[in-house]
């Protein structure tokens, strides 16, 4: 028996999302069981059935959680920082206008 991970699409145009997993002796029965677990109530329009062994697993913290502040690599970090700088610049500019 091997583990298969199942992904499902709920409606046309939607993303494939992880649904869960199951045990089966081979891909053919895995497809049947996936249909039973994640499709028999008409809750899916497509399933992907993937042997877990085919998945490359990556959880190395050196690769995924670097020790330095990397907030500038995050869109959110960038946008909040730029907003703060913009607000500061506007304030300065406003003061200059008043003085002039």
């Amino acid at each position: 028996m091997q583990v298969f991970e199942v992904f499902r699409r709920e409606r046309e145009g939607g993303p494939m999302q992880h649904a869960g997993n199951l045990l089966a002796p081979d891909p053919e029965l895995a497809a049947h069981y996936a249909r039973e677990f994640y499709g028999r109530r008409q809750e899916s329009v497509r399933l992907w059935i993937v042997p877990r062994a085919a998945i490359r697993d990556l959880d190395d913290p050196d690769l995924l959680q670097p020790p330095f502040d990397r907030s500038f690599k995050k869109p959110a970090g960038y946008s909040t920082e730029i907003k703060r700088k913009l607000a500061e610049a506007r304030e300065r500019a406003g003061e200059e206008v008043e003085q002039g």
């Binding site: 028996m1 045990l23 089966a24 002796p25 053919e28 049947h32 069981y33 249909r35 028999r40």
Partner: protein
């Protein structure tokens, strides 16, 4: 719609149609109950869910067929037909008189039934009785998956080593004569004459056997040389096993007939 379609049939065709609907409904109903007995004890959890789901599908088909029968006759209630009869009034094929037995036996029985039923549905999908044609079209879509699943299991048991194979062979030897009853025991001539059924049941059975022959040859499994039973293909005499099952599936209904659940 059912009434209008029924009015186009003569009395003999209508009676034969009522018996065909009852026979098909009882086949699906009794098989559904036998196979639901695997709930909780199937070989693996995944198969437990799958087999119970297949059994539920059959009960659903039975419900639709009982409904059609009640509409055709213009009286009665599907629950009453399903649960309110004496054992000798059921019209299922003798194949469904056997108990669940072991896993290979249940797989072999379901495979024989599903393939025979598929041949029967093929002969009904263009039925002149349109309400049945419509229902059969829906049933066939669901049976596609049943057939895939049962073929998968037949292969695995046939090629799964000594014990699974010998259990499967033994089951088939016991089941073959009664399997021939699925496409028998109904007065088919008036149905063919009225265009309700595309061809006589004997022709449907030949098509079924012709389709199975290459599968059984490839898997080196026993194929019937025995003739079907001469009579009693669809009752009224029933096995003790069926009498027990009848007692189980009518127990709640009999406790308070006519109650609203």
């Amino acid at each position: 719609m059912t009434t209008q379609a029924a009015e186009r049939l003569d009395r003999r065709a209508r009676e034969a149609l009522a018996d065909l609907l009852l026979a098909m409904a009882d086949d699906e109903f009794v098989l559904g109950f036998w196979d639901s007995e695997w709930t909780g004890i199937a070989p693996v959890l995944e198969e437990d869910v799958a087999f119970a789901s297949l059994a539920q599908d059959e009960i659903g088909h039975a419900q639709a067929l009982y409904r059609l029968l009640v509409d055709l006759e213009g009286r009665g209630d599907p629950d009453e037909v399903a649960f309110g009869r004496r054992p000798e009034e059921y019209r299922h094929a003798r194949l469904l008189d056997h108990p669940r037995t072991d896993w290979a036996f249940s797989v072999a029985r379901r495979f024989l039934y599903d393939t025979a039923d598929a041949a029967r549905l093929d002969a009904l999908v263009a039925s002149a009785f349109e309400p049945l044609a419509g229902l059969v079209a829906k049933m066939r879509r669901e049976e596609t998956y049943h057939l895939l699943h049962m073929h998968a299991w037949m292969e695995r048991l046939a090629n799964g080593g000594d014990e699974p194979r010998s259990r499967l062979v033994h089951a088939l030897e016991r089941l073959w004569p009664d399997a021939r009853c699925v496409l028998a025991g109904v007065d088919d001539a008036p149905l063919v004459a009225a265009g309700v059924l595309a061809e006589p049941l004997a022709a449907v059975e030949q098509r079924w056997l012709d389709g199975l022959a290459p599968v059984f040859e490839r898997l080196a499994l026993p194929f019937p040389t025995v003739a079907p039973p001469a009579g009693g293909c669809r009752g009224p005499r029933r096995s003790d096993d069926f009498l027990w099952l009848w007692g189980q599936f009518t127990m709640v209904y009999r406790s308070d007939p006519g109650a609203t659940w």
